[in-house]
């Protein structure tokens, strides 16, 4: 069996009477794309928040690269190599695309307490950042402020940032959302190659993309994982068809 990069065990999160995460256990293994699907309100975003560190679970453990990260803050988890993209793009809007990526390069080098040298003349920052932009096909828009990028370009930029962080695992929260069919197709091809670099936990509503990409799929309904398995197994699982795909069993 491939090495476990990320392992959730018995994760629980309650908001008042609502159990948003109800005993979730799942693993992300080296080289795979593990898709997390489920209807709206199933608790997918709540789960991502707990993995990234913006929400603290009430119970259960999160292990990343063999280490318990449950007590760590967002920034510390990111430094360990947990690269996430946001469901709604979260960028520094006044900074150009290049500077947004440069921030990630700088964070990866662990060197934010340097006070004198201008970043724009620092090839140790600009070159890796430009390379990450080239990989996602955004090099031509490097100098455009993030606020002026199109929706799809911002999603690409988020991925470039995660790449520049040298992430050991990617948490991608609906990367296809709001993209046109062309964009989705291009991104699907890109993610397909990305899994060799680091495994991807992919939350996505675009089923074409999920079925094309996923090695394994977990189905989350009312905070509970009702099934985990290969694409074939999930397609044919009667409980999943009823709960999610909207077909009677």
């Amino acid at each position: 069996m491939a090495e476990q990069v990320l392992a959730l065990d018995g994760l629980e999160k309650r908001f008042g009477a609502l159990k948003a995460t109800d005993g979730v256990s799942l693993t992300l293994e080296d080289g795979e794309i593990h898709a997390l699907i489920g209807p709206n309100g199933a608790g997918k975003s709540t789960l991502i928040h707990q993995i990234a560190g913006t929400l603290k679970p009430d119970a259960g453990s999160i292990r990343f690269l063999g280490r318990d990260i449950g007590h760590l803050g967002v920034a510390e988890r990111a430094r360990l190599g947990l690269g996430r993209t946001f469901q709604v793009s979260s960028l520094a809007p006044e900074f150009s695309a290049l500077r947004n990526v440069m921030l990630a390069v700088q964070a990866r080098q662990g060197s934010s307490f340097r006070f004198w040298r201008p970043v724009m003349r620092d090839a140790a920052l600009t070159e890796p950042a430009m390379a990450a932009l080239e990989r996602v096909g955004l090099a031509g828009r490097a100098r455009v402020p993030a606020a002026e990028l199109s929706h799809g370009e911002r999603r690409q930029l988020e991925i470039a940032i995660a790449l520049a962080l040298g992430s050991r695992a990617f948490l991608l929260d609906e990367p296809m959302a709001g993209m046109g069919p062309e964009g989705s197709k291009a991104l699907t091809g890109f993610l397909d190659g990305l899994r060799a670099e680091a495994p991807i936990l992919l939350v996505e509503h675009d089923m074409d993309a999920v079925f094309a990409l996923a090695d394994r799929i977990s189905v989350l309904v009312y905070g509970r994982i009702i099934a985990t398995g290969s694409v074939e197994a999930i397609r044919n699982d009667p409980a999943v068809r009823e709960a999610y795909l909207g077909e009677p069993a």
Binding site: R84, L91, A92, F95, S96, I161
Partner: protein, 323 residues
Amino acid sequence: MSRETAVSLAFLALLLALPFAAQALDEPFYITLATRMAILALAATGLNIALGLGGLVSFGHAAFFGIGGYAAGILATHAFNNEPLLLGLPGTNQMIVMWIVGAAVAGLVALAIGLISLRTSGVYFIMITLAFAQMIYYFAISWPAYGGEDGLSIYVRNAFPGVNTLKPMSFFLICYALLLAALALFWRLRDSRFGAALQAGRQNPVRLAAVGIAPFRIRLVAFVASGMVTAVAGALFADLNRFVSPSMLSWHMSGELIVLIILGGVGRLAGAVAGAMLYVLFEFVLGGMTEHWQLFLGLILLAVVLFARGGLIGLLAGRPRHG
């Protein structure tokens, strides 16, 4: 040269030309006016590090301004009376020592205030910084050893090696040189890695944390540096007026510094310079016409906030470019 650089240099040249013109016209009062502009610009440049780059709206920077002022006043008083200060150490009439002492004390106080207040944000941060500054203000009022409410006079302007500081022009040039140094610091900080993290934290702290940089420490360092620069301006202000009083510590002063930056341009290199020049000019021209000049200042501020968000620099140089 970018348009902003040109505009910034123009303001600095104008400020430098003002006292020379005054001297040529034999109007020494205007040298004092220009000195006041330079000192307020220095104080506001300090605040601009926290407020402009970091988005930390400190409503308590008068604390640092006043600490600088009292550092100068207390050291000078001890030197004048020939009384030892602390642990047998003497006072001094050397400006450089005062700047260092003022900046060091302000830095420690900023560290303490920052450690607590930077755990909050938005309006809570504004209120906590205000509360700390008011505590120091009331402490100064109720501390009789250094004049309490009446303040403290500096009988002779303090000294700077090789310069006759009693000449208004010489004192102006000292203030101007320090202003240039602070602007250089601001400029390098802004473009550095530290500045990138600080500005990203203003634009989107969630993004900053997501790449693995915790905003807290970055902001704390910025807040301390900001307080230290403002303290040096406070020491100069005490020397200009030859007087320190609790009013330097009052919330009016904190507000004045924020107003200067909004008038000039938040986060812009020469924003504090343009703002201070405009403010002192209003104070002088409008203040000469009516006691209620601040009413007109309020109207101007309103116009800036509604129609010229980038302040004077934004109006003249357009939006900032981040490369």
